[in-house]
Amino acid sequence: MAGHPVGTRDQWLAARTDLLEAEKAHMRGGDELARRRQALPWVPVEKEYAFETVDGRKTLADLFDGRSQLVVYHFMFGFGFRVNDETQGCARCSFIADNVDGMLPHLNGHDVTLMCESIAPLDRLQSYAERMGWSFPWVSSLGSDFRYDFGAAFTDQQRTDGAEYNFRRYDKPVPQREGVSAFALQDGVVHHTYSAYARGVEPLMSAYAVFDLAPRGRNEAGLDNPAAWQYRHDEYQRS
């Protein structure tokens, strides 16, 4: 880290003030996109989806749990980064899920139900959640088309013929990818309101936004895989 330019108080302040203007413009750009998201047309969800949950079998409408908005993180389980067997969740998805419990009471208090969904047996999700110390709701969509229909998993057929991910065509998609989907319940009907994939889920990776303010940033430039430094939160001592 040697050799970084050092400044006087006045130089620092001048550079920081210039940056602040750019940061504010960026913030307003973010506000504008949030407005645009809310203006997207809502699409009624006509298919019946069933989920296994700790409270038994539930429909998509049931998952709202008395609130009017539902946000589902499509968590890769038994597949993904640093997964050796079917009892583990993807380490990158775990990096995201580490944020969920902290946000949960605030979102629940503001009429939003937030949960994770995976294509895996419920008992495996529960064991892994226990290991990671998570308590957010996590449902199994095993046997349902839910994750496939919302663009974060691909059938054998799609993997051969190609499919869209993040609104772009992939000739040979991998079995699963990350994603987040939002739904609204209006007059008893569930509507799909938004989905995001790939770097679109980065707002859920709070650690990245924190690194973006640190002296060395994300510091991933020299790595073969940008996530090479990332492990599950209970695995860092090993690395």
């Binding site: 939002a182 973006d212 002296p215």
Partner: protein
């Protein structure tokens, strides 16, 4: 919830794809700003700040705890407070789970407040957090960054219409508006190089949203957005107080 425009899948896809292009632009712009932040000149810290910690009195350099980067969240918890600021508490909820990942990339994250250490640690236990929390009540650390105000400096603010959120939060902290706004929120970043501590970055107000209020990033993707009517006090509560107020 007011009736919302309903569309077909094709209408959604067309609108979503257009929005995606702009989302990608904003992400890239965010990357550029992060780069500009890293290029800011570093400011050597010449003052010898002292902090009360669980392991005794420490200097700013000590707080790095063996790493080369330090981030400090200036948590609003002044001496007259009976409990920490509820908004800062929601920020701490967001920051706390980042700690192991930040450590892995050579970053130490701590909170600093001006209340006595015993008060901070008791509150930390109530909230279930584990990050280090230091008391800077005996130094000008917060004041030098503009995160501590005197009554004199607050006079014009206090003579105007005090926002409902300030009154509400002051009450939730067991203090009055002047006691509450004597503290200010902020995040400051430091680098330790060849034994010298440098300040690299400081942010406050809405600059805290991306790094420390991830629930806003999520609400910005939820059907009703942030849903914060300007004439209503802020909806945020401490995580163990929802449904009780």
């Amino acid at each position: 919830m007011p009736e919302h425009k309903v569309g077909t899948q094709e209408e959604f896809d067309a609108a979503r794809e257009q929005l995606l292009a702009e989302e990608k632009q904003l992400t890239r712009r965010s990357d550029e700003l992060a780069k500009t932040r890293r290029e800011l000149p570093w400011l050597p810290i010449e003052k010898d700040y002292r902090f009360e910690t669980e392991d005794g009195t420490k200097s700013l350099a000590d707080l790095f705890d063996g790493r080369s980067q330090l981030l400090v969240y200036h948590f609003m918890f002044g001496a007259p407070y009976e409990a920490g600021c509820p908004v800062c508490s929601s920020i701490a909820d967001t920051l706390s789970p980042q700690v192991p990942h930040l450590k892995a990339q050579d970053v130490t994250l701590i909170c600093s407040s001006r209340a006595p250490l015993a008060k901070l640690l008791a509150y930390r236990q109530r909230m279930g957090w584990s990050f280090p929390w230091v008391s800077s009540g005996g130094s000008d650390f917060h004041r030098d960054l503009g995160f501590a105000n005197t009554e004199e400096e607050l006079r014009s603010f206090l003579e105007g219409d005090i926002p409902l959120t300030v009154t509400q939060n002051a009450e939730m902290c067991g203090t009055d508006p002047v006691g509450y706004v004597s503290e200010g929120p902020g995040l400051s970043a430091y680098a330790l190089s060849n034994g010298t501590v440098y300040r690299t970055y400081v942010t406050t107000a809405r600059g805290l949203e991306q790094p420390a209020m991830s629930y806003y990033g999520l609400l910005d993707r939820a059907p009703m957005g942030r849903n914060e009517p300007p004439d209503e006090p802020l909806w945020l509560r401490r995580h163990d107080e929802y449904g009780t107020t």
